[in-house]
Point group: C2
Chain length 234, copies 2
């Protein structure tokens, strides 16, 4: 295949230069299916959804020009914006919780809300809804209209309250007493390849314990309320 005849835009797409640029790109992809968008960025969409859990997020990263790879940085570094795809059920409500970040158990004791990874990740987020009715094949699911979100005062209070309670428990070495039930809007759940994963962590007395890797997640009811607010503002 000759140079100049490449039929699809499979070259890496540059980073957006401004919020406006990013939002314009998001508008451009709204309405496309994951299959269509995957073809644009050179990603094959598998048939089986269970084997492709993160694929919508990965396609949108490429399509919008996010900094690729696993970093402790926002997806759009220069803009300070995090990208999150959000699966919607047939009624337009979030079908799943939203992963925020992994938890470093040792680090929790030495930080506060203002310096937390959770707040860093959530201070500015581009939410991109994606259809996720399980009877729609993965490649036919459509990307929706994106919304740029920053927590309002009430939302930040909810997040902070949950985070402080959870961080306190973790810092005390009581991580094994944390379940997904805790937290009104922000919860802690396993974040591991399987149930036997273990990582070192300090316990109550400062010695080592081996515990399952966990992450912070936003509950669907919270992201649903956020989307409702953003849609209302329009």
């Amino acid at each position: 295949m000759e140079k100049g005849t490449v039929p699809f835009l499979k070259e890496p797409i540059g980073s957006p230069e401004s919020e406006e640029d990013l939002l314009a790109r998001a508008r451009d992809v709204a309405g496309l299916t994951l299959g269509e968008l995957g073809a644009r960025v050179g990603v094959e969409v598998p048939d089986e959804a269970a084997r492709a859990k993160g694929i919508a997020g990965q396609i949108l990263e490429k399509a919008l020009g996010a900094t690729a790879g696993s970093r402790a940085e926002p997806d759009f570094v220069t803009l300070g914006i995090e990208l999150k795809t959000i699966p919607l059920d047939a009624t337009g409500r979030p079908k799943e919780s939203t992963f925020v970040c992994s938890i470093s158990l040792a680090a929790m004791a030495d930080t506060d809300w203002e310096r937390s990874t959770v707040l860093k990740k959530l201070s500015k987020v581009l939410f991109v809804p994606v259809e996720a009715a399980s009877d729609t094949p993965l490649r036919d699911r459509r990307v929706g209209r994106a919304y740029l979100w920053a927590p309002n005062e009430q939302e930040e209070t909810l997040l902070r309250t949950d985070w402080e309670r959870l961080a306190d428990t973790i810092a005390n070495g009581d991580v094994e007493r944390i379940t997904g039930h805790l937290g009104e809007v922000l919860q802690v759940r396993p974040k591991a390849p399987h149930g036997r994963s273990r990582r070192r962590a300090p316990d109550e007395e400062g010695s080592v314990q081996w515990t399952m890797p966990r992450g912070f997640y936003l509950r669907p009811a919270f992201t649903g309320a956020v989307l409702a607010r953003l849609r209302a503002v329009d």
Copy 2:
């Protein structure tokens, strides 16, 4: 069996003469099982719970001296107090909704909240908790400590708001559009011996329709909150 040798108090028990009298009687029966209390008042408690749905209420009516029978009056007429047993699960929360009263569809159009049967029934209620874990045999379930309740301002507002919305729909003849989903604390649900029961009611145009008998019920979350408030006051 000779007169004077009757071994159990199976004679009707007189009505309580005052709130204090009623509350004293309630304290006396707290801690007894339905089997014990049934024996006192001459009621045999069946083994099979499904065949004895209202029995706890009927035993407590007799034990506390409520006016027997089906009336459009409070259970303790002179005191203006309604008796409600309330089934608690193993964690102490209401297991079921609480029936308030049947709905006369024709009468709904001609009344308001202040004159409603719901408000009359709920203006003063003696709630008697009864254990209801389904693995405990009916006769072994214990009666708990009773609480006398009158709705506070917030509770009455919730009830009134729901009632007015529901009453409006019913008065408009739209009763068939009512489901158990409506109402934050007060809901409308079927109240009939079976699903084929039908009663006459005016429809939207004032002619007759045949519709299923329904009643007002309090949601478990509401009675749970009420009990929590009453326990907190202690």
